[in-house]
């Protein structure tokens, strides 16, 4: 069953030859104004509704009848992760345009998992993952050392940069008088400090109006409490909480 919708073509995709049902995947030629080296125009096929079980390799297998495939890009979108939706889009880049055209004419795809190239799923996959997570301590040490060496050399490079060829020193925040770091927390702290110091200067109950105001404030506080309590009680009332029995 192949039909066309908004320029998309529908093809059934099966997991293996034993499968009794199939996903409908929708494909069309990738065309977008923004150029991307990884998705060369004319050679890239845009596919949607790729089931979660499919991997890049297995898609290669599935589309192999069309011709040689350079790479498959499975698009993991933020949205998909947040919604817990594992269905994805894929970009399949063929080495020749003819293959792309052939792909669009295909009536049927190969299954994702074949006996030669099985897709590892389920318990075997997890066992394999477990085994490969156990790493020899020496090897791990090497990896860490590598990584640290890289980091250190980067750091050194940065340091050297501060004095340039002509002997000028770049002034950075790490100097003798480094000034304030530009952090949000520092800024709020400063603001608070200023407010506080201005508050400390004034006398609190010196003028009559101040006393009057503090009284009013007290009443306002009581009122506010009252309003809040009222709100709570109203909520409880709505929930029919006051029916004792």
């Amino acid at each position: 069953m192949t039909s066309e919708l908004l320029g998309f073509k529908v093809l059934p995709l099966q997991f293996s030859s034993d499968s009794t049902s199939s996903h409908d995947i929708f494909l069309k030629e990738h065309s977008i104004r923004k150029k991307d080296e990884n998705k060369p125009p004319g050679q890239t096929l845009f596919v949607i509704n790729i089931p979660p079980i499919a991997t890049e390799d297995s898609l290669k297998t599935a589309f192999s009848p069309a011709g040689k495939i350079t790479r498959v890009i499975l698009d993991v979108s933020e949205e998909g992760l947040a919604n817990k939706d594992g269905f994805r889009r894929a970009f399949i880049v063929f080495s020749k345009r003819e293959s792309l055209l052939k792909a669009l004419r295909l009536k049927q795809l190969d299954p994702l998992s074949t006996t030669e190239k099985p897709v590892k799923t389920g318990i075997k996959k997890w066992m394999e993952e477990y085994n490969s997570s156990i790493v020899d301590i020496e090897k791990l040490q090497e990896q860490v050392d590598d990584c640290m060496r890289k980091f250190e050399s980067e750091e050194n490079n940065k340091k050297e940069d501060t004095v340039d060829d002509e002997g000028w020193t770049l002034v950075t925040k790490g100097g003798r008088k480094s000034g304030l770091s530009r952090k949000e927390s520092v800024k709020t702290k400063l603001d608070e400090k200023i407010a506080k110091s201005s508050k400390n200067k004034e006398l609190k109950n010196f003028y009559t109006f101040q006393i009057r105001e503090s009284k009013m404030e007290n009443i306002a506080k009581l009122r506010k409490n009252f309003e809040e309590a009222k709100k709570k009680v109203n909520l409880m009332k709505e929930a029919r909480k006051f029916k004792p029995y």
């Binding site: 919708l5 997991f15 409908d24 009680v233």
Partner: protein, 1116 residues
């Protein structure tokens, strides 16, 4: 489970609710806002600062002085208006009263002899009919009876004093017998009671012909079978019940005649077969009090009326107290605390000027509680009489009775209130005060608004109803028995009660008889027991010293074969009972052993022990047990904790540049709430595994998987390091440094102590004492780096993200877990109790992703910390309290407050609360307030959802309903199967797991007795120890794969403890048919031009994703 809904707009609806409430409360303000939209803020401020009126000022001041706080005041107001009796109802009653009084005034007169009634020989039809009623009283000789219109009649009771809490209306009539109907000596030998009884019946018969009443019946005053009254529903009034009392005219009998020193029954009129001499001479305490009630009724009611008349606040206070009494089930039993007693005590307090007319209802209630909570009415009685009477006679003759003496000083209103029941009332009063002082959002609700059934207030309930009628068991207690003449059943019951009480008195805080009477017969007999956690689980019941021969012999006789002579460490030799056990579970079982011995063996009675030690079996029935003695989960949890302590010591002693300063456990095992704490064990290469370095790994991956090694749970721990400023400022580098730190530690452990360890990206597994400890550490810098973000202005901001929150969780978890451990050490039932709750929630297929372990721990901890009742002492108790709480839990209004050690001040808590209430929609469905996460409720951000909470609430409700069924219907059961077996009916798809590949299958729920237990051999350190395959749970991996990929389309349910089914529920939205658009083709198939959900393919995906793990998939 069927009804789980996918509500996406619930947050919105919540918001609008809040908004509505706001508009309600400040309509006035709102109006002014509309007229002047430009300056809303200013206006609001003005409204707060406008000049107060005198009335408002007074009101505000009053709240401060007379009530706990605003909220309390408003709640009281609301509650009082809710229980206000409708005007219509009042009006109808007063109309009815007018007609009824006319009826009384026109009653016809009859005269006859008692014998004529009994033999049915009198010619008048009405008198003939009286003979058909059951005969309650016997007397010594024939007496003349006269029936005529009453001398006078009075209304009395709470309603007449305007102190009745509605909505139903109860009121009483007191008909005073004319003097000529009574003889001066009629108080003797039941004569008065007979006259009273037949007068009542005469009224009944007359009423029957009058059309004034429906549902006319003979009832008994406070269940006292010798004090019949008429109960009727007046015609034309709804929800109104009238009780009619008959009393003698005041000058007929002298009240002094009924002091407890007097004998007023000279013959054996109640078939006691007691010695005639004893009968004649011993005081008839209960009989006397009975008549004293009638004699003094009018006097007392007049006093009450005088005192309360016009005192609105006191009347409201009484209403509150009556509601409290009812809600806390304190008046359910025969001989319990009654509303009349509240009246007497309030009058007393008024007399003593402890309450006055200027007090608010809140203060009245508060003073009442504080008085009753601190006054022992046995030694300091309440006496309303003016004359200083000698109450000592009462105490001596009524045997430590609780005394509330009336105006005449001769009637004791609390004659049937036992010392023990009074003790319980005192505890409740103290608790009520505590709740007032705590002044949390909930205290009002707990006091007045929610029903606290009696069976949930005790640690266990003994039900002896099956042994009714109780056997005769007198033995030299004739004199005592003569006191109870007329109440023989009660006497027998107290005997049983006293023996049980004697056996456990040291181990309990209270043991209270709860009795239901049906006329003279016992109907139900319960005992509520609250254990004393300090002594209840003691192994030894120490008796008197051996050389105290008489006492020792008595002790031996009491305890029978359980007792033995023992020498103690201090050299003393005593007779004692020693219970052998070496598990905590065994200690909890001691109570059962004692009851079995005392009730079944010694007294020969049949009994049921409810709500104790029953569901605990769930925690006990395990397929995998350790070689050492163990009961529930305590022993094994303790092993883990000890091993971590030891390992911590080693780690702290390591010579490394950055020292380890501490280790903290974060697994549930460390706060004893883990259902299956890991058992120390040796691991060797097996069929399915092979060795790689120090580790076991899976062998033969490419062949068909036959079986898998069982699940080994890693114990999560956090390392604390010395402070250092040298951590790099780069996330990658920082993590690199951490890895090399792990490597150093790992090498040192291996070389110096021969401890195996294994390093993964984020953590290090250490195999020690047969357990696997998983250590992590996250420096604050790491969290900061993850959060760090520089905005366009060059200002550095720290932004929360899922990753940073996950790290933060690791940061707060150790604090939470150690605080929970503190809860466990204060309340030993907390840990295993939580484990049981967890087991139950998981058994109902809600797993970690629905509601996490730590959230369950915290909810239950909040119940212990904020307990209104005393915290439970048994595992079952913890479970039932949780169910009770959850069945009433309203998460929309109410945050969970877990204030460990009261570290947060009241203000802090209330600020957080009001923040929560003001903006409810912005917070997660469940909101937990505690001191460790700055009011962010970090632990509930992703789960539980509204639907899961609703589902648990529904299940809890069923559980609580089931409890009340079990209490009142002995044939009802509450089997483990019923409560723990999930219902699979509602699911769309059920995935069955291959049991052989389920590595946690040994944790699965066993509903029958286990036959093939596997005992884990004792752990021994050996040379060829290997680190096992840790934390490998394929079902869990499968589930998380499913959830990640299909979470949008379906919800998955699974019992994490070895469950072999996964229930799938489609999201109702998937069934929509959509137009073709690239945005919503996912998981769809093309049908015509539309997209529909591709069910077949998705289910096949489920199959394929599981590989060999899935046995079958069932579509429903």
């Amino acid at each position: 489970m069927k009804n789980i809904m996918f509500e996406t707009n619930c947050a919105q609806s919540c918001d609008t609710e809040v908004v509505n409430a706001v508009t309600d409360s400040s309509k006035k303000r709102k109006r002014s806002d509309i007229s002047n939209k430009g300056s809303i803020k200013k206006k609001c401020k003005n409204a707060q600062f406008k000049l107060p009126t005198v009335e408002e000022l007074n009101n505000l001041k009053e709240t401060e002085n007379l009530f706990n706080n605003n909220l309390f005041r408003l709640q009281i107001k609301e509650l009082i208006s809710e229980v206000e009796i409708k005007h219509k109802r009042k009006r109808r009653l007063s109309e009815w009263s007018r007609i009824f009084e006319m009826f009384l005034d026109t009653l016809p007169t009859y005269e006859c002899m008692l014998d004529e009634i009994l033999k049915g020989v009198h010619g008048v039809k009405l008198i003939h009919k009286l003979g058909e009623y059951q005969r309650i009283f016997k007397t010594d000789h024939d007496i003349p009876l006269k029936f005529c219109r009453p001398h006078s009649y009075h209304k009395f009771g709470l309603y007449e004093n305007n102190a009745l809490a509605g909505p139903a209306l109860y009121t009483n009539y007191n008909l005073v017998l004319p003097k000529q109907t009574l003889h001066a000596k009629d108080f003797l030998n039941n004569r008065y009671l007979i006259k009273r009884y037949y007068y009542l019946l005469y009224i009944v018969e007359e009423l029957k012909t009058s059309n004034l009443a429906t549902n006319l019946e003979i009832d008994f005053h406070e269940g006292n079978h010798l004090l019949p009254i008429i109960k009727l529903e007046p015609t034309g009034c709804d929800k109104t019940i009238i009780s009619i009392y008959v009393t003698p005219a005041s000058e007929c009998f002298k009240p002094q005649r009924f002091l407890p020193t007097m004998n007023n029954l000279k013959f054996d009129l109640y078939d006691t077969e007691l010695d005639a001499k004893i009968l004649k001479e011993q005081p008839t305490v209960y009989y006397n009090n009975l008549i004293a009630h009638d004699v003094a009724l009018k006097i007392n009611n007049d006093l009450i009326y005088e005192t309360l008349n016009g005192q609105t606040n006191i009347q409201e206070g009484i209403k509150l107290l009556c509601i409290w009494l009812k809600q806390w089930d304190l008046n359910v039993s025969f001989g319990s605390f009654t509303e009349n007693m509240i009246l007497y005590i309030i009058v007393y307090l008024f007399q003593k000027k402890k309450i006055n007319q200027y007090m608010s209802s809140y203060q009245v209630a508060r003073n009442f509680w504080s008085f009753l909570g601190t006054t022992n009415l046995i030694t300091d009685p309440v006496i309303l009489a003016d004359t200083t009477i000698d109450y000592a006679t009462f105490s001596v003759h009524s045997q430590d009775a609780v005394l509330i003496l009336d105006k005449t000083g001769c009637y004791n209103a609390s004659n049937f209130l036992t010392k023990e029941a009074f003790g319980k009332i005192q505890v409740e009063c103290q608790r009520a005060l505590e709740l007032l002082d705590k002044n949390t959002n909930n205290s009002f609700q707990q006091l007045f608004l929610t029903k606290q059934p009696f069976y949930l207030q005790y640690d266990l309930i003994l039900d002896l109803s099956k042994s009714i009628p109780l056997k005769q068991n007198y033995r030299n207690e004739e004199i005592k028995r003569s006191m109870y003449v007329g109440y023989d059943e009660l006497f027998k019951l107290y005997q049983v009660f006293n023996i049980v009480n004697k056996a456990v008195s040291k181990r309990v805080n209270n043991i209270v008889p709860i009795i239901e009477m049906d006329k003279n017969n016992l109907k139900k007999f319960f005992m509520g027991v609250n254990l004393n956690p300090m002594t209840a689980f003691g192994l030894i019941e120490k008796g008197p010293a051996l050389n105290d021969l008489a006492q020792a012999e008595e002790f031996r006789k009491f305890w029978g074969h359980l007792s033995s002579d023992r020498r103690f460490r201090d050299g003393s030799t005593n007779v004692a009972v020693y219970f052998t056990t070496n598990t905590i579970h065994g200690k909890r079982k001691i109570m059962k052993t004692i009851f079995d011995y005392v009730i079944s063996e010694k007294l020969g009675l049949e009994y049921r022990m409810l709500f104790y030690n029953h569901y605990e079996d769930i925690l006990l029935s395990k397929r995998l047990v350790p070689s050492y003695a163990s009961g529930a989960n305590e022993e094994t949890s303790l092993k883990g904790t000890h091993s971590l302590d030891e390992l911590g010591k080693i780690l702290r002693s390591l010579q490394i540049p950055l020292k380890i300063t501490g280790v903290q456990g974060v697994s549930d095992t460390f706060c004893f709430t883990e259902v299956f704490p890991p058992i120390p064990s040796n691991f060797k290469e097996g069929n399915a595994t092979s060795v790689q370095g120090n580790n076991l790994i899976f062998a033969n991956i490419n062949q068909k998987v036959g079986s898998l090694p069982r699940y080994v749970q890693p114990l999560q721990c956090i390392l604390q390091l010395e402070h250092s400023s040298k951590w790099p400022n780069n996330l990658q580098a920082l993590r690199g440094v951490r890895l090399s730190f792990f490597i150093t530690v790992s090498k040192l452990l291996q070389n110096q102590y021969n401890i195996l360890s294994n390093i993964m990206e984020d953590f290090m597994d250490v195999y020690y004492n047969g357990l696997v400890f998983r250590f992590r550490f996250h420096t604050p810098k790491e969290i900061a780096l993850v959060k760090k973000f520089t905005d366009g202005d060059g200002i550095t901001r720290f932004v929360e993200s899922t990753e940073s929150q996950a790290l933060e969780r690791w940061h707060i978890m150790p604090k939470v877990v150690s605080a929970l451990k503190g809860v466990q050490s204060t309340y030993p039932s907390y840990g295993p109790g939580t484990a049981l709750i967890k087991r139950w929630i998981r058994a109902q297929l809600h797993d970690e992703s629905h509601i996490s372990d730590i959230v369950i721990n915290l909810i239950n901890a909040s119940l212990y910390i904020n307990a209104a009742e005393s915290p439970p002492n048994s595992i079952d108790g913890a479970f039932f309290r949780f169910a009770k709480f959850f069945s009433e839990f309203d998460w929309k209004l109410q945050p969970i407050i877990v204030n460990f050690n009261d570290d947060m001040s009241k203000e802090e808590v209330s600020t957080l609360e009001s923040k929560f209430q003001a903006n409810r929609g912005a917070y997660s469905p469940l909101f937990i307030i505690m001191q460790y996460d700055q009011g962010l409720s970090l632990l509930t951000q992703t789960s539980p959802s509204e639907e899961v909470l609703a589902s648990i609430k529904r299940l809890s409700k069923q559980c609580v309903d089931c409890m009340s069924r079990v209490v009142f219907d002995p044939s009802a059961t509450m089997s483990i199967k019923e409560m723990f077996k999930p219902n699979l009916d509602g699911f769309n798809v059920v995935i069955h797991i291959q049991p052989l590949l389920n590595t946690r299958i040994h944790e699965a729920l066993v509903l029958s007795t286990i036959t093939n237990r596997i005992v884990v051999e004792k752990y021994k350190t050996t040379e060829d120890d290997k680190i096992p395959i840790v934390g490998f749970d394929p079902v869990e991996k499968y589930l998380s794969t499913l959830r990640e990929n299909y979470g949008k389309y379906a919800v998955f349910f699974h019992d994490s403890y070895g469950g072999s089914v996964i229930g799938v529920l489609w999201n109702p939205q998937v069934h929509q048919t959509l137009d073709f658009k690239p945005n919503h083709v996912n998981a769809g198939k093309l049908t015509g031009n539309k997209i529909t959900f591709n069910v077949d393919a998705v289910i096949e995906d489920f199959w394929n994703l599981g590989g060999e793990l899935v046995k079958t998939i069932e579509r429903r």
